[in-house]
């Protein structure tokens, strides 16, 4: 009896070792090395940068670390329609119901705030690429993940991504996707890219490790369309009656550094 028990224990141990060994071998063996993460990332960026038209909806959120140290997550939904070389429309709704609209009509940039009944306009400096840079960098406006929508996205990522690794292949988001993790010089990112001949991003997580509390930005993409309806009317903005035009804050001179007249003159061109 005692000998039989010892035999059973030995057999169980052997089976366990065999199963674990087989599992380890399975994790390494099939397909041998994982797919090239950088190649996958650049393939996605090349597709996004070269498609003449696209539309997508992004459910995004970000952390705002409060002075108390508590993190608050703010949510928003953005729908972007882009038609190269120079048209873009983005509708956004924040979690508090505030809705805004950004339109590049080829000649000027218009931004509209629904609840305030105000809008701002500035001359469009060029195509979508130049305008996105001007809009985000110089006017200081928000357009999250704008770097993915410039035509040179692949070149941009190639230069800015210091390292990127393959995490796993997963179907947990709905369609088979490659989960990658990488770093730029100041942001850690994770991205889930659809497997197949249309490598579009399904989800992005950005972590800001140098900022207090290491806040994150998250976006879940849906309704990708690389051939959306994109008539000119979609990219036209006519200020609704009763709304007021205001300048971009970044275009105002610093308070005390100039007169009010200068503030008006240096505001965005009509």
């Amino acid at each position: 009896m005692h000998r039989r028990t010892r035999w059973r224990v030995g057999l169980t141990a052997c089976l366990c070792v065999a199963v674990l060994t087989a599992g380890a071998a399975h994790a390494q063996a099939p397909g041998a090395s994982p797919p090239d993460a950088r190649a996958l990332l650049l393939k996605m960026a090349t597709l996004l940068g070269s498609t003449p038209r696209l539309s997508v909806t992004a459910r995004a959120s970000y952390d705002a670390v409060q002075p108390s140290g508590q993190k608050i997550e703010w949510n928003e939904v953005r729908t972007l329609t882009l038609r190269r070389p120079d048209r873009l429309r983005m509708e956004a709704e924040k979690s508090n119901g505030a809705r805004s609209l950004v339109v590049f009509d080829g000649k000027q940039i218009s931004v509209f705030d629904e609840s305030g009944g105000t809008y701002a306009q500035a001359a469009q400096p060029g195509g979508v690429d130049e305008t996105l840079v001007y809009f985000v960098r110089d006017l200081g406006m928000r357009l999250p993940l704008a770097a993915l929508f410039v035509s040179r996205a692949a070149t941009d990522l190639e230069r800015r991504v210091k390292s990127v690794e393959y995490v796993e292949k997963t179907g947990i988001l709905g369609a088979p996707a490659h989960h990658l993790a990488g770093r730029t010089d100041s942001v850690n990112f994770q991205i889930w890219i659809t497997d197949g001949d249309q490598p579009l991003p399904q989800r992005v997580v950005l972590t800001y490790p140098n900022a207090p509390g290491q806040p994150e930005f998250r976006a879940q993409f849906s309704a990708w369309n690389l051939a959306p309806e994109s008539a000119d009317a979609l990219f036209a903005f006519a200020p609704p009656a009763g709304t007021s035009k205001i300048p971009f804050a970044a275009a105002l001179p610093r308070y005390g550094a100039a007169t009010g007249a200068a503030a008006v003159k240096k505001g965005p061109k009509p």
Partner: protein, 224 residues
């Protein structure tokens, strides 16, 4: 007597500890809500300001800010220098030729600068880090505080008249109230198509910041 004292002391200590915890919690909440700059704060006054809001692949945290604005200022200064150079043409032919040559050189220089500017935009690997709002953020921090203080006493804003929506989708959440003015009863003046609001001795103008319209401290309107 001693035993009663022994039972009262822990009870008082516990009560003080609870009061202390409640007080610190209230302080924390006040601290959290006090930071609500950025124009329209979130529900309950929580701040929406965050480096993560930009959704950029670069972060300005710990790095120099407003580099883009510095470049813009530099660009304007260059243009002014060139204008000044053109204005100093000579009186004789040699001087005019020199002036023409100078103008041509200036145009070439301008073209080169414009090209360089575009190239710079391509070379800038931090263009999406959300750094262009230094001015707005400064103003908004002040006005946000004033607005938060005055919000309770400010009269409710009249709802905007119904009109065709600019949006292709229906809202998921009822829209919030319009941004409150910088104080309860500002003196509003319009000049050059811009509305100025005066609260005490400070003038404000409304401007579009990264998080929507905000009131920014401004110089007085022309002629005031």
């Amino acid at each position: 007597m001693t035993s009663r004292l022994r039972s009262v002391v822990p009870a008082v200590g516990f009560a003080l500890a609870v009061i202390g915890m409640l007080a610190s919690d209230a302080d924390a909440q006040r601290g959290g809500r006090g930071g609500g700059g950025g124009g329209r704060g979130g529900g309950g006054g929580f701040s929406r300001e965050s480096p993560a809001a930009s959704g950029g692949l670069s972060s300005g945290s710990g790095q120099g800010r407003a580099a883009g604005q510095d470049r813009g200022t530099q660009g304007r200064a260059d243009t002014q220098d060139r204008s000044t150079g053109q204005g100093q043409s000579g009186e004789n032919q040699a001087a005019r030729q020199e002036s023409r040559a100078s103008a041509q050189a200036s145009r070439q220089q301008y073209g080169a600068n414009a090209q360089s500017s575009r190239q710079e935009a391509y070379d800038d690997q931090h263009w999406d880090q959300g750094k262009g709002l230094a001015i707005a953020a400064t103003g908004a921090a002040v006005v946000g505080t004033v607005g938060a203080v005055s919000a309770a006493s400010a009269p409710p804003m009249a709802p905007a008249p119904a009109q065709p929506s600019q949006f292709t989708t229906a809202p998921a959440t009822p829209p919030p109230a319009a941004p409150a003015p910088p104080c309860a009863n500002p003196a509003v003046t319009s000049a050059g198509g811009v509305a100025y609001s005066k609260c005490g001795s400070t003038w404000y103008t409304q401007a579009y910041g990264d998080n929507g319209p905000v009131y920014v401290p401004s110089a007085p309107p022309p002629g005031s």
